[in-house]
Amino acid sequence: MERVQVLSLCLSVALIVFVLHLIRRRALREQYALLWLFFGLVMLVLSIKTSWLEWMAEAVNVFYAPSLLFLVGIVLCFLLILHLTVVVSKLTERIIVLTQEIGLIRNELEKHGQEKNG
C-alpha cells in the first residue's frame, strides 16, 4: 500500500466515525447524515480500490487519476453549498413569518391583559 493510500484511508474512516458521532449526539439531521456517510463510504472505497479510480479516469480520458477525484470533489462541494443556500433561504423565510406572528400575538395578548386589569 502506498503512503497516500494509507492517508486517504485514515481520513475517510475518520470522517465516517465523526459523522456517526454527530448522529449519536443528534447534532445532524438524518438527511445530511446520510449524505455525509455516503461521501465517507465513497472515499473509503476509492482509497482501497485505487484501480477503480484509475479505470474511471481512463474512461473519461483523464491522464492523472487523482485530478478526477478533485473535479468530482469540487463539483459535489458546489452542489452542496447551493443546496445549503436554498435551505438557509427557506429558514430565513420561516423565521420572518414566525417573528411576525410573535409580534401580532404579543399585541393581542397585551390587549387582553389590559381588558382584564382595567
Binding site: 420572518i96 417573528t99 411576525q100 410573535i102 409580534g103 401580532l104 404579543r106 399585541n107
Partner: protein
C-alpha cells in the same frame, strides 16, 4: 359600504425613532381621530414603543429586527386580519405630512385606484435630496415604468395607500429587504390599478437615515434583479 365608514389603518414602520414618532402619531390623530394607527416597532433599542403607545397608537413589537419589508408586512397582516378597508404607510421620521393623507386615500375611497403612491416629483414640492440619490430614484423610476408599462415617477416613496385587494396581496407576499419598488411591480402584475398623486414631503425631523451610499448601490442591484424576477414569474 358608505364613504366615511371605511375603516382606515395607518401603518408606521419604526426603527429607533423615539424622537419623532410621537409627533407623527399625534398629528395624524388631530386630523383623523377615527383612524387606527399601528406602529411596527422593529426591535428598536430606544423608547420607540413606549413613545408610540403614549401617543395612542397600537404597537406591535417584533422580537428582532426584520427590516422595513418584514415590518411593513406585519402591518398588512394586521390590517387583513382586522378587516380594514384601507391601509396607509407613513414613515416614522416625520417626512410624510398627515395633512396630505386625504389626497392619497380619496382615490381609493372613490374606487379610482387600488393603490395610490404619494410622489415627490409629480409636481415641484419642497423635498430636496442629494444628486446621487436623485439619480438612483430616476433609474428606478424608469425601470418600474418600463416593467409596469405605466408612468411612475417616485417608486421609492414610502407614502402610499392600498385598498382591500392590495392589503390581501401584501399580507400574502411582500419582499423583505427593499420592498417599495418591488411591491409596485407585484401589484401591477396582479392587475391592480396604481396611480400617483403629488404630495409635499419634508426632510426627516430627527434621528438618522437608514440609507448609506454603499447600501444604496447594493439596493439598486438587488431591486433591479428582484423586479426582473417578478416580471417573468
Amino acid at each position: 359600504m358608505s364613504y366615511d365608514t371605511l375603516k382606515v389603518c395607518i401603518i408606521i414602520p419604526a426603527y429607533n425613532e423615539e424622537k419623532s414618532i410621537a409627533q407623527v402619531i399625534s398629528r395624524i390623530f388631530r386630523l383623523h381621530p377615527e383612524f387606527t394607527v399601528v406602529v411596527i416597532d422593529d426591535g428598536s433599542s430606544d423608547g420607540t414603543a413606549a413613545a408610540a403607545k403614549a401617543a395612542g397608537a397600537d404597537v406591535i413589537t417584533l422580537p428582532q429586527n426584520l427590516g422595513i419589508g418584514g415590518a411593513v408586512q406585519t402591518g398588512y397582516l394586521y390590517c387583513a386580519r382586522k378587516g380594514f378597508d384601507v391601509a396607509v404607510q407613513v414613515d416614522a421620521d416625520g417626512q410624510h405630512k398627515p395633512e396630505e393623507l386625504d389626497k392619497i386615500i380619496n382615490p381609493i375611497r372613490e374606487g379610482q385606484a387600488d393603490m395610490v403612491l404619494g410622489s415627490r416629483w409629480v409636481e415641484n414640492t419642497g423635498y430636496r435630496s442629494s444628486r446621487s440619490r436623485r439619480a438612483g430614484m430616476l433609474i428606478l423610476a424608469s425601470l418600474v415604468s418600463f416593467f409596469t408599462r405605466r408612468h411612475v415617477t417616485d417608486p421609492t416613496s414610502g407614502f402610499r395607500a392600498v385598498g382591500r385587494k392590495g392589503i390581501q396581496l401584501f399580507a400574502e407576499d411582500y419582499s423583505t429587504d427593499y420592498p417599495e419598488v418591488d411591491s409596485l411591480v407585484s401589484l401591477n402584475s396582479h392587475g391592480l390599478r396604481i396611480i400617483e398623486v403629488a404630495v409635499e414631503m419634508d426632510q426627516r425631523q430627527a434621528g438618522s437615515s437608514s440609507i448609506s451610499s454603499v447600501k444604496s448601490i447594493y439596493y439598486m442591484i438587488k431591486v433591479t434583479l428582484s423586479i426582473m424576477i417578478r416580471s417573468v414569474r
